[in-house]
Each structure stands twice: as C-alpha cells, then as structure tokens.
C-alpha cells in the first residue's frame, strides 16, 4: 500500500470504511522509515510500540462498532482514532525520550504527557515516532541537531529547513501523514515551505505550551504540519485550548478566543487580502518566490478575493527585534539545564565545574551563542538600549498590523526569501542564516496566526524545489487562514 501521499481525512475515511486498519497504516509508514530514513534522517526514533498502539486503536474501533456507534459518532468522540502522527522531539510524551535534538537530553524520558500529547491521545492518535529538529528549536536548517541534519527529500543536497525540519521532511518522504512542530520565529512555516507541505503557527496562547521545551516563552507555540489545509484545520481544532490550561499561564480559554475573534469582522464571500509592496523589494528574493506570489494573487482574485496594498512600515525591524527578545528569553529558559535536576552531566572538580563542563560540552554552538547573546542584551548598561527598545519596536510593529487589519482580513507575504538552501552553505554566517526568517518572525512578535501553503516550484539544478506563501490573520482568526488557504489549494495548477 502506498501511504506516502495520504491525508489525515482520507485515512479517517478509509479506517471508517474498514478498507484499511491502523496496524496496516503504521506498518506501511514503518516500511517508509526503514527504506528512507537512513538517507533523509527525519526520524530520530520510530517508536517500537507504534504497531501495538495501532492494534489497540483497531480493537477500540471494533468495540465501538459492536456497541452500535456509527462512523460519525466515532469521529465525533475520537476524531483521530488510529491515525498515525509524528511528534517533534521537543514536545513530551510520557515515558518516551524527548531530547530536543540535544546531547544534554540524550537519554531523558518524560515523566508526563504534554497537554497537546494528552489531547491527541484522547482523540485516538497513534504516535509513530519523534522527529529531528535544530537543537532546542534554535535554527532554521536542522544543521544544529546533535544527531545530524535532516535532508530535504526533494533534493538531498539541501536542508529541510528548521527548526521543525524533521516534522516537514517526514511528510515529504512519505513517513507520516501529519506531524506536530513548534514555532518561535518561523520554525513550522519555513520547513513546511521548503518541503511543499502546509504548516500552521496558531495565535499565541491558543495552544498550550505545557510540555513543550521552552525557547522564547513570549513567542513559542505548537502547531500542525500536514499535506492539506483541511487536515491542518482538523488537527488545530483538536489541539487548541478549550478551557485554558492550568499548566500554561499564558493560555486563552475558549470564551477568550471567541471574544478576540469577534473583534475582527470579515465577509467570507469577499475576503480582503493585503499585499505589502515594500516587502517585495527585500534583497535576495528569489525569482521563483516572486512568481509564486504573483500566481497566488491571480488565483485569489479569480476566487473572488479583493487584493489591496497595505503598508507595514516597521516590519523591516522585525528580525532585529526578534534577535534581541528571543535570545534574552533563551538565556533565561536554558538556565534549567545544569546537569543537576535532569538530563546528562559532565563531571567537574566541584559544583561550579559540573555546571561549566555540562553546559560547555553538552550544549551545541548555536544554543551557546544565543545564551551569550541573551546574557549580553539583558546585562546592566545594555538592557535599555536592547531589550526595552526591542519591546517598544515590537509594539510599533503590532500597531502596523492592527492598522492594516482595519482594511484587510489577511496579509499575504512569501514564507521565505528563497527555496531550500544547500546543506552547509549558511553555517559560517549566522546573520545570513537568520535572514531566512525575515518574513516569518513577525507573526510571532505580534502573536498573530500564520499559515504557509505550497504555491509553486523552483527549477534549480534539475530538481523541483517547493516554494511557499504565507498568510497572516488577526488574533484568533485561524478560520480566515483556512478559508484563504483552501482557495490557494483549489486555484493552483498542481
């Protein structure tokens, strides 16, 4: 059975009809893992109990059917019963290793389930395994993983993006129908674009961060990656908060979400799409990205959308603001990894020596670079010029978006300036690497939801490399992203 292109909704239908079992599906994904993972390196681990969990899901379905439940009732109570998923290595599953692709957590197995894990388990999902990422989600290529780069299945000389590179490549290689990632500055959307899949960064606070290893706590959010917008919508509805989360102090309740969503009114029959002309002059924008943008605009117009120009005058500062606020939060969040409470340890002569050796030897270069940068921008004498000023500029950017959303319902930008780059091409130049995030960091800074959808291909060196476009919507208006994303899917010619 070829499961490489199956969507979650197709899988649900097949399971409901009885034309396939969860066990057969997991066996097929396991087969893809065995054939392709040695080359691609998307999975860090394929769980050895995945087949058993699939059998349990099949048994449960049989019991529900025997109890007189029809397919609709089963989908309502267990919307993912028997559906296989891959999990990013920084979202914990009870008794499974979650290493965040770091040496310091190489053998760490979680004593609890993250909130999203618990929600997915309750929905009946089967976890196939944990997938590769940049160490502690810091990076845009998975080259910062302590366990090797994840190659792009469309061209294995190129990166799969990051930090959720494994979550995107596992779909492109046919190793899972959908996955979860985390997004602090583009870590779901950028790899989704590089791999030709859909990725959602939800509104900050709509999905619990409990059980996600913290990177930049004012920016982090968990979200889904899948082949279609409809699958993304289904997964988002399952993982999002219903009554807040008592374990995540920044989560919104269902009531809050509805109230915030009602603040923006839109006409679903005539969506207003904003484009930002000044962003198209950003240096280094690949011709294939410009073409994907133009085609998307045409497809949206043909689908009845109104396309208008808007201005985001402070967006040009987003990346600078991000590379102050994020490392500041990283330097604080990473203090917990000290070789005492959990994780691995490198012995020193005394307690201080334990700290210095453990953190110096078990944390990778990018993580240490960001910790030091964060320590610098927070240090006395520099705090006002960097951290406080960055917060002020962040609010200016938020003001730009607020104003833009008075005249449009959603803003269209490229997801990334270029298609996937060559492995090793940016490793000596962190600033060049960070520039790949230039279009994505803004949504994290302003808390808005953003969706990357495939919008074309670049023909480079005889390979077809996927290109994505990004939509950003007002807070808690993921519904607009899904509506516009589906129009792009219907309008594109592939």
């Amino acid at each position: 059975m070829d499961t490489s292109k199956l969507t979650v909704l197709e899988i649900r239908d097949m399971l409901a009809k009885g034309s396939v079992t969860s066990e057969q599906l997991v066996a097929s994904y396991k087969d893809a893992f065995e054939k392709k993972n040695a080359d691609i390196n998307a999975y860090l681990e394929f769980f050895n109990d995945a087949l058993d969990e699939a059998k349990k899901a099949d048994q449960k379905r049989a019991e529900l059917i025997a109890a007189g439940k029809n397919a609709d009732q089963i989908n309502a109570d267990f919307p993912l019963l028997g559906v296989p998923l891959a999990m990013k290595d920084n979202v914990v599953i009870k008794d499974k290793v979650a290493s965040a692709a770091s040496k310091i957590l190489e053998k760490y197995a979680s004593p609890y389930d993250s909130t999203v894990t618990a929600k997915l388990k309750a929905a009946g999902a089967v976890f196939l395994g944990r997938v590769n990422m940049d160490e502690f989600a810091m990076g845009g290529s998975t080259e910062n993983s302590a366990y090797g780069v994840t190659k792009n299945p469309h061209d294995t000389s190129r990166v799969s993006g990051g930090s959720s590179g494994g979550s995107a490549a596992v779909l492109a290689m046919g190793g899972a129908p959908a996955s979860l990632g985390s997004d602090t500055g583009g870590s779901i959307r950028q790899p989704a674009a590089y791999n030709g899949v859909v990725g959602l960064k939800p509104t900050y606070g709509t999905v619990s961060r409990h059980g996600l290893m913290a990177m930049g706590s004012s920016l982090d959010v968990i979200g889904p990656l899948a082949h279609t917008v409809a699958d993304i919508e289904l997964l988002f509805e399952i993982i999002k908060n219903t009554d807040g989360d008592r374990y995540d102090s920044t989560s919104l309740t269902k009531k809050d979400i509805e109230k915030v969503a009602a603040e923006h009114s839109s006409d679903p029959a005539k969506l207003r799409v904003g484009i930002v002309p000044e962003l198209m002059n950003v240096g280094g924008l690949d011709a294939s990205v410009v073409e994907a943008m133009n085609k998307t605009v045409e497809a949206l117009k043909a689908a009845g959308c109104e396309v208008k120009e808007v201005s985001l005058p402070h967006m040009k500062y987003s990346l600078a603001v991000y590379y102050i606020l994020m490392p500041a939060e990283v330097s604080s969040n990473m203090a917990r990894f000290d070789g005492v409470k959990y994780g691995s340890k490198v012995e020193g002569a005394d307690l201080l020596g334990d700290y210095l050796n453990t953190r110096g030897e078990l944390l990778g270069k990018e993580v240490r670079r960001r910790i030091m940068l964060g320590t610098y921008v927070l240090s006395s004498g520099y705090h006002d010029a960097y951290y406080n000023k960055a917060n002020i500029v962040k609010d200016l950017i938020a003001g730009d978006f607020k104003k833009a959303f008075e005249s449009v319902d959603v803003i269209l930008t490229p997801t990334t300036p270029t298609p996937a780059f060559k492995i090793g091409s940016h490793t000596d130049d962190p600033v060049q690497m960070y520039l790949e995030d230039i279009f994505t960091v803004t949504a994290n800074l302003v808390g808005s939801p953003a969706l990357s959808v495939p919008a074309g291909f670049a023909d480079i060196e005889g390979k077809k490399l996927p290109v994505g476009v990004q939509f950003t919507a007002p807070h808690c208006r993921e519904d607009i992203l899904f509506a516009v994303g589906k129009k792009v899917e219907q309008g594109r010619g592939f």
Partner: protein, 101 residues
C-alpha cells in the same frame, strides 16, 4: 560596536559554560556581527516609539492564568518518577557536590 574576546569569556562565565579560546574567538566574531545587525532598532526615534503606547502585541484578553498553590498529583504522580531523571540522586534527594568547605 566591538566586542572583545574577554567580553565573550565573561558572558560564558556568567552563563556557566566552559569555553575554549578558539571557540571564544569565533563567538566574538559572530556575536559582534549579530549585534551589528540588531543595532538598527536604534533608528526608531523616541517620538515614533511613543506612538506605540497602548498597542500590545499579544492577543487582547491575554493575561496570566493562575491556579491554586496546592500539590498536584496529576502533574507529578510520583516524586520518584521525577527524581529518577536526575543524573545523581540518593535517599530520595538530588545529589550535588558539596558547596561549603
């Protein structure tokens, strides 16, 4: 802006990370380049900055969710489960090297 290697060694020591001289030299160059890039936010004037007063980046209604300060059995069903993750532990306690002479 120019960061020195001893500045970087100081940052490494503040963040409790051992750093070789070679690494310090490389980090100095890289962190200096990043600081050079982020400097651009200084272009934003105080007057412009004042215009952002009252606009907040996070979703409205965003506030701290509190819970009662009581032991939560769901979170840590068994303290030995948590303790077993510590690299070194003894008699139900996390073990560290002595800090008093």
């Amino acid at each position: 802006m120019s960061l020195t290697q001893s500045d970087v060694q100081k940052l490494a020591s503040l963040s409790r990370m051992k750093l070789s001289d070679e690494e310090a030299a490389q980090f100095t160059k890289e962190i200096d380049a990043i600081l050079g890039y982020v400097e651009q936010i200084k272009e934003v004037s105080a007057g412009e900055a004042a215009a952002s007063a009252g606009v907040h980046a996070n979703p409205p209604l965003h506030r701290n969710m509190m819970r009662e300060d009581i032991a939560d059995q769901n979170l840590n069903p068994d303290s030995s489960e948590v303790l077993s993750r510590a690299p070194s532990h003894q008699d139900g306690l996390v073990k560290v090297k002595k800090i008093l002479g």
